[in-house]
Amino acid sequence: MLKPGDPAPPFDLECALDGRTARLSLAKIPSELVLLFFYPRDFSFICPTEVTGFNKALKEFAAEETSIVGVSIDNVDSHLRWARELGGIGYPMLADPDGSLASAYGVFDENEKVALRATFILDRKRKIVFAASCPLNIGRSVSETLRIVRALRTGRLCPADWTPGVECGPTDRDF
């Protein structure tokens, strides 16, 4: 699995967005940060809580200049039907049927042939600044991810359990 500091592998893949098939390239995402989250499968009972959770928080992430991109090994047709099933998803869901993108990020589970439940945040230089993964049976926290995005955007050293409004440390020159 790639770690903070590694350059983010680029992608140019088909995706489902707003009920249509589209194409998305990392190079063409204009936002300051990119939240790239991998999930195992469409049509499952844990993933939808994350997929819809990120969708509900879409505006809050947008306010932080952060684009959300979901990825799984399902194809675009599956993503389209899954998004419709979930009542519509406002961010692109990338199709990675051969798991090559998941493999590039080091989060492809060879036994299960699915992506791990992994989250990456990419900075403006498209370098990885945050990487984490959860077991396949545990959903990740949307609010924690948002907290990290906010902390990263301060560009400063943030103490444990930092939340907006809490005093930050000095500027982090690496960011």
Binding site: R41, D42, F43, S44, F45, I46, S78, R81, N137
Partner: protein
């Protein structure tokens, strides 16, 4: 259109689940009693004493087998239920694990992921339906999986008794000493064949006679092996004596 009556089928399956106790009990009753008769006939000259001893052995055997079947089924049921209770408690805390597990099983059986998802989602509208389907698909648990200890014990005891009476009755009622043991053994062989034939009939097999012969052969082989082992170790008894 012909339909299946689920309640009738369920009752039939529950009755058929006793076949294990019936076959085991009859086979054991027949062979044990035939063995006792053979053994005692060689050692005791009084016909009535042999019959009485075999009768006592039959009563003890039937009670022992009934108790064994009851205790065995009870232990199995308790252990399985305890394990199932743990699974249910876990499922109550994390229902999605049950949903995901059931979805995986349905996909393994050929449903597409999307179709399986819809089935599980529909089942999830009734927690009871989800629970019972998941237990059956994921763990192979179903109602008849759990034995009925009391019933198993009674069936086993009666089956042993019936089996034991087969060699015992000819022995008791054929007064000519030349034929009493032969009659008992003939009845034993016939019964073993009959049990196998009956099992083949229940299983809707066309070659029921083959099922009967197989049952007879296995049971008699076990008895013969026991007899040969007895012969082989008998010098040890003489040495010890």
């Amino acid at each position: 259109m012909a339909t299946v009556d689920p309640a009738a089928k369920r009752r039939l399956f529950e009755r058929l689940s006793s076949i294990r106790e019936i076959v085991f009990g009859v086979q054991d009753g027949v062979l044990t009693t035939a063995g006792v008769l053979c053994g005692l006939s060689g050692a005791v000259s009084q016909h009535s004493q042999v019959a009485l001893a075999a009768l006592a052995s039959t009563a003890a055997g039937a009670l022992s087998m009934a108790a064994g079947a009851y205790l065995g089924a009870r232990a199995e049921t308790e252990v399985l239920r305890a394990e199932l209770d743990l699974v249910r408690a876990d499922a109550a805390d994390k229902p999605y694990t049950v949903q995901e597990g059931l979805l995986d099983e349905l996909c393994k059986e050929g449903l597409s992921r999307e179709a399986g998802y819809r089935v599980v989602r529909l089942l999830s509208t009734s927690p009871k339906a989800l629970e019972s389907t998941a237990e059956a698909k994921m763990f192979g648990f179903s109602g008849p999986t759990f034995g009925k200890p009391a019933l198993d014990g009674i069936v086993m005891g009666i089956a042993f008794l019936v089996g034991a009476l087969v060699p015992l009755l000819p022995y008791m009622f054929i007064t000519a000493q030349r034929y009493d043991l032969g009659g008992a053994l003939a009845a034993t062989a016939l019964t073993l064949f009959g049990v196998g034939y009956f099992e083949g009939w229940l299983a809707h097999r066309s070659d029921r006679w083959r099922s009967g012969v197989r049952f007879l052969a296995i049971a008699m082989s076990a008895a013969a092996a026991g007899y040969l082992i007895g012969l082989a170790i008998s010098p040890l008894g003489a040495t010890a004596g």
